[in-house]
Every structure is written in structure tokens, then in C-alpha cells.
């Protein structure tokens, strides 16, 4: 998992709506849905992220019980890649900035 650790820098920036601070990491969130099997969601976390069984199950249970889980973090481009891959597996995934 890639984390950006650079301290935020105060800059004057135009207040456009889509502006984002480049050093604020993004996260990929997987949402609970009533169709995907718990074992399948665990499998996807192992297969795509190469997480070990324990971590994959922990994230799956968080999705199941809390309705969602942040499963990866990194740059916007990395999260776009993760979300696209998870959609490929049929999981309900979104990306957002980690505020």
C-alpha cells in the first residue's frame, strides 16, 4: 500500500471546485452489498491486493458489519486503477480523498 507522507504545504491556490491538494492521499472504499459473497470479497482482496488471508478477512468483515471499508490508499491515479479493477471483479467500490 502506498502512503504519501509529505507534510501539507500552504499554498495560494485558485478556488476551483475540483482542486485537490496533491499530497492528500486518496482512498478506495468498498461498500457492502447484499449479493456479493463474503468468501468472494475475501478472495478478491487476496487476489487483487495480494493481502494475506487475515487482512483480507478483516477488511471483508469491516465491509459486512460497518457497511464499508477503506481497502487501499495512494495517489489519485493509483486509486483509479484500484477502483477500475474492483469493478472488474464486481465489487461496489468508490474513490475519495482521505480528509
Amino acid at each position: 500500500m502506498v502512503g504519501v507522507t509529505t507534510a501539507p504545504v500552504e499554498v495560494d491556490r485558485p478556488s476551483t471546485e475540483r482542486e485537490v491538494l496533491p499530497d492528500t492521499p486518496w482512498v478506495t472504499v468498498v461498500w457492502n452489498d447484499p449479493v456479493n459473497l463474503m468468501s468472494y470479497v475475501t478472495f478478491v482482496f487476496q487476489d487483487y491486493f495480494r493481502y494475506d488471508r487475515a487482512k483480507a478477512e478483516e477488511l471483508m468483515l469491516q465491509v459486512h458489519h460497518e457497511g464499508r471499508s477503506a481497502v487501499s490508499s495512494g495517489s489519485r491515479e493509483e486509486m483509479e486503477r484500484d477502483v477500475a479493477a474492483l469493478h472488474g471483479y464486481g465489487l461496489w467500490a468508490t474513490m475519495q480523498q482521505d480528509r
Binding site: V35, F43, T94
Partner: protein
């Protein structure tokens, strides 16, 4: 009891013919929902021009919208931009997965040996079928939302659940034999 998927030294052994007609019925639905593969523009400039078109909208069919979900919550513009660059690839993958399963169902061999990539493709198609049927049957955590009036669809959804469960077990090494395991060391 017939197992649909079994781990073996040479891959995953798939035996789907006992359920082929029911799976084929809904696989045809899924393939229609995904639509045909678009023709590739002959000229690079045509491909470039296509990226300047309006981004694709969220599908109006709820089942297709579940297969191609929004990538950003509460931000239709950002989700549309995401669709512009990822939806074709996503649809291509889902069409390929569906074609892999269709090929398996059409095989005259009683049993087919799947390598890891093909097994994952079959798994993807089974999941897409469950998502399509689950959406149409309005499945909730407690099961179908209302009285089920389409018993074939509901029993096929249950069948798909069992098949997917089996295949996941085989791929994660939870079901005997010398099957591969996907867990990272």
C-alpha cells in the same frame, strides 16, 4: 453429490453440464445487457475523437448500473469522467468472462480443465450473473425483497451462489486436492 469445481494437479476441473441450460438462459440475458463489442476505429484520430465525445451516462437499467457502478459518490461529473476512460475496458472484460463461461457450457466434453486465469474468468461471469439476477430479484441481506414470482430466476440465483462458493473454495485452496492457492506468502 456432483461437484461443479474440483481442485486437481493440472488445474480446476469444471463439470457444468448438469446446470448448463439454466446458466445458458441467463448468460444470454447478461450478454445482451453487456451489448456487442464496439468496432475499433480504423484511424487513431477517430479513437482520439471518441474521447472528446460526451462521457457515457450511468446506465438506466439497474442491473447494468450495478455492473458498471459510479466510481465517485455524489459526484456525477467525476463518475462520468471515470466512465469515459474505464467503461470500455470494464465492459470488454465482462464480455470476455461471459464468453469464457459460454464456451464452457457449450463444450461437449463432460469435464473441462481450467487454468488459473480461465477459472477467474468463469468466476467473474458467475458473479456478474449473480449481480444481474440479484438486482432484478431485489435481493436484500435477508433474501429476496418481496414475494418471488420468478422461481426459475430465484433458483438460478441460488444455484449461482452455490457454484461461486465452490469455485472460490477451490481457488483459495480450502477445498482438498492440489489446487492452487491465491494467498500471498
Amino acid at each position: 453429490m456432483t461437484l461443479a469445481f474440483e481442485a486437481a494437479a493440472d488445474g480446476v476441473h469444471a463439470t457444468l453440464h448438469p446446470w448448463a441450460w439454466r446458466l445458458r438462459l441467463y448468460l444470454a440475458d447478461l450478454q445482451e445487457l453487456l451489448g456487442p463489442e464496439p468496432t475499433v476505429p480504423d484511424h487513431p484520430l477517430d479513437a482520439l475523437a471518441a474521447t472528446l465525445d460526451e462521457p457515457p451516462e450511468r446506465p438506466s437499467d439497474p442491473a447494468l448500473a450495478r455492473l458498471l457502478p459510479d466510481a465517485v459518490l455524489d459526484d456525477p461529473a467525476a463518475s462520468a469522467e471515470f466512465r469515459r476512460f474505464s467503461q470500455d475496458t470494464l465492459l470488454t472484460r465482462k464480455r470476455q468472462d461471459a464468453a469464457t463461461l459460454a464456451g464452457l457450457l457449450d463444450s461437449t466434453e463432460p469435464q473441462t480443465v481450467l487454468d488459473g486465469a480461465t477459472a477467474r474468468s468463469v468466476l467473474g461471469a458467475l458473479n456478474d450473473l449473480r449481480l444481474m439476477l440479484g438486482t432484478r430479484l431485489a435481493i436484500t441481506e435477508e433474501g429476496p425483497a418481496e414475494e418471488v414470482d420468478d422461481l426459475v430466476a430465484y433458483s438460478t440465483y441460488d444455484l449461482l451462489t452455490a457454484l461461486q462458493y465452490e469455485l472460490v473454495e477451490v481457488l483459495t485452496g480450502d477445498r482438498g486436492g492440489g489446487g492452487e492457492t491465491v494467498a500471498a506468502p
